[in-house]
């Protein structure tokens, strides 16, 4: 990664560090607070909510949160939906990006700019008719409305990111493979995808976060509690256990944890994926 090699004034450097440390603390406090509350007993929380470290660590909250609702069920549902949509977005998105980055055909630019324009479209404009479509197809209270859209490219931003990345891969590689008799699918699969690790990881991470976080979709489409995802399950939890804050916080931590773990795993690629895509510099 490129760093700016500028020597700045020592006092300026100290200021930078002070600001960074203060900022980092400010941003992580709610997070740490959530964690510590989830480990407090009900009495301790009631008597001393401002205390940072719990006097006695109580793991029970997690157990209670996990068993109070079919939380394991919600988790499995969410993992299933997220896995399917993430892989569908990556595969279909990279195919579309391949089409936009390597081929010339009629109306290509029209399609491309139309696609970019959809990034600015508020979802509310399409929400109701899409709901009507799924209702006609008798797909309300199934996972289809949440999953199927991911198979169509996985969103304009992802396609754009991948297309930018593909443009940076020398075309000579494609041509050499073609001379060796490779078809277009093979070039996509054997040349472009293996060289696009950072961009694919970035897109996968974005898709994962988007779906894991998705609240409005499940809220509209899912009715039976056994099909709920964690996000709406958590809201149900809030309604029925609203007074047991420490348990609500434990449930929140369970919801947050997978995203944090995944972020750390993909961290390495993350900034590089955006950076090399030229998004920053255009």
């Amino acid at each position: 990664m490129k760093q700016t090699h500028r020597e700045s004034h020592p006092s300026l450097r100290i200021l930078v560090y002070v600001l960074l440390v203060c900022g980092a603390l400010l941003f992580t406090i709610p997070f740490i607070w959530t964690l510590s509350t989830s480990l407090k007993s009900g009495e301790e929380f009631a008597s001393d909510p401002g205390r940072f470290l719990p006097r006695h660590v109580v793991w029970e909250n997690y157990h209670k949160a996990w068993t109070a609702l079919p939380f394991a069920r919600f988790m499995m549902n969410t993992v299933f939906i997220t896995m399917v949509t993430t892989s569908a977005s990556v595969v279909s998105g990279s195919l579309v990006a391949y089409g936009f980055s390597r081929f010339e055909f009629r109306f290509k630019n029209v399609f491309f700019y139309t696609m970019l324009a959809t990034m600015m479209l508020p979802g509310q404009v399409t929400q109701i008719p899409v709901f009507m479509i799924w209702r006609e197809l008798r797909a309300i209270d199934t996972y289809y409305p949440l999953i199927v859209p991911a198979f169509f490219g996985g969103g304009a931003f992802n396609i754009f990111l991948l297309r930018q990345f593909f443009l940076g891969i020398p075309r000579e590689l494609d041509e050499a493979a073609m001379i060796d008799g490779a078809g277009f699918f093979r070039i996509w699969w054997r040349i472009l995808l293996p060289l696009s690790g950072p961009a694919l990881a970035t897109v996968a991470l974005f898709s994962f976060l988007g779906q894991w976080d998705n609240f409005e979709g499940p809220l509209i489409y899912l009715n039976s509690p056994e099909k709920y995802t964690v996000s709406i399950g958590l809201r149900m939890f809030q309604d029925s256990f609203g007074t047991n804050f420490e348990q609500v916080m434990a449930a929140s931590v369970i919801h947050i944890l997978p995203t944090v773990v995944l972020f750390f795993a993909a961290q390495r690629y993350f900034l590089r994926g955006i950076n090399l895509s030229g998004l920053g510099g255009r």
Binding site: F27, G50, E104, M120, G123, I128, F131, P149, F215, N275
Partner: protein, 301 residues
């Protein structure tokens, strides 16, 4: 004849290119273009999932003249956007600038700042609900330590809009900051060196080198920031449900309620189109003014 024609098509790379973008194109037609037109059509009808009836511009007329909540929601949303978008841009740019200094532990800092945006919206809403708790919430506890009595953030209708704006700030270390950081790292050092040789102060470097070269990124963040701000939904839905006294009834929330709670699909579609027109105007204005302040290196668009 037919086969030879097909063979010719298959031999053309353009045909394959079109084939590859087909998933997007089909999805666009089925889930974007088609529904958009349908919702426009629907906005002139009364529809409750059972019967449908053409009412002309009645939905729009009622929204504008007979629905005080529509105006309330619009006002709330504009206030939210006016506060959260500039603060968000300034915040995320500041963090990116700090991180772009050659600091040690850059990775750790980056994670700290990014962490809040990893928190799923419902979980973060629950966390904030508690941060803003007027009796034993962390914010008022801290304010009490320095001798200030904090307001009843989520019960007082004067404080609630600020609570939501404050909440939005927690996410400034996320995607927008990363995009700013990527933009900063793409600025060639040679510009700074040249400026330094000319004796430019750090502030002048920032104003005359960083800002112009970063302006396309800023523009991108600004446009998506405004659109995002107008769609605030989950936090309001989970934390306050629109209260107190509709102080956090945001546009997307009111639209959702009309559609999926009151089943007024015609009215909700009209609202969606009003939102679309507002955002389209705002975006076009930004594109129009961008000629004055967005600088593209190399001079091409």
């Amino acid at each position: 004849m037919a086969t030879s024609h097909r063979k010719r098509m298959v031999d053309q790379p353009g045909f394959w290119g079109f084939l590859f973008i087909c998933p997007w194109l089909i999805g666009f037609l089925c889930f974007t273009a088609g529904p958009m037109l349908t919702s426009f059509w629907l906005s002139f009808h009364k529809y409750d999932l059972v019967s449908i009836q053409n009412v002309g511009v009645e939905n729009y007329r009622r929204l504008f003249t007979e629905d005080p909540l529509f105006w309330k929601a619009l006002k709330n949303t504009i206030f939210y956007a006016l506060v959260s978008v500039p603060l968000g841009i300034i915040g995320s740019l500041s963090i990116a600038l700090l991180l772009n200094q050659n600091v040690r532990g850059q990775k750790l800092f980056r994670v700290c700042f990014y962490l809040p945006s990893l928190v799923p919206a419902v979980a973060s809403a629950l966390v904030w609900q508690w941060v803003f708790n007027s009796d034993n919430g962390i914010l008022n506890t801290m304010l009490r330590m320095v001798g200030i009595t904090g307001p009843q953030w989520l019960q007082d209708e004067r404080a609630t809009p600020w609570a939501f704006a404050l909440m939005s700030l927690w996410g400034v270390g996320g995607g927008r900051m990363v995009i700013f950081l990527a933009g900063l790292q793409n600025i060639s050092d040679s510009y700074y060196e040249a400026a330094k040789i000319d004796g430019a102060s750090p502030w002048r470097c920032f104003r005359c080198v960083t800002m112009p070269l970063l302006s396309p990124v800023m523009f991108f963040n600004l446009i998506l920031g405004v659109i995002g701000a107008f769609q605030i939904f989950t936090s309001a839905y989970v934390i306050t449900g629109g209260g107190p006294n509709h102080a956090s009834l945001y546009y997307a929330l009111y639209l959702f309620q009309n559609a999926f709670e009151y089943f007024k699909f015609g009215k909700a579609s009209a609202m969606a189109w009003v939102l679309f027109c507002i955002l389209l105007c705002l975006t076009l204005i930004q594109f129009w003014t961008s000629k004055r302040w967005v600088y593209y290196e190399g001079g091409d668009k």
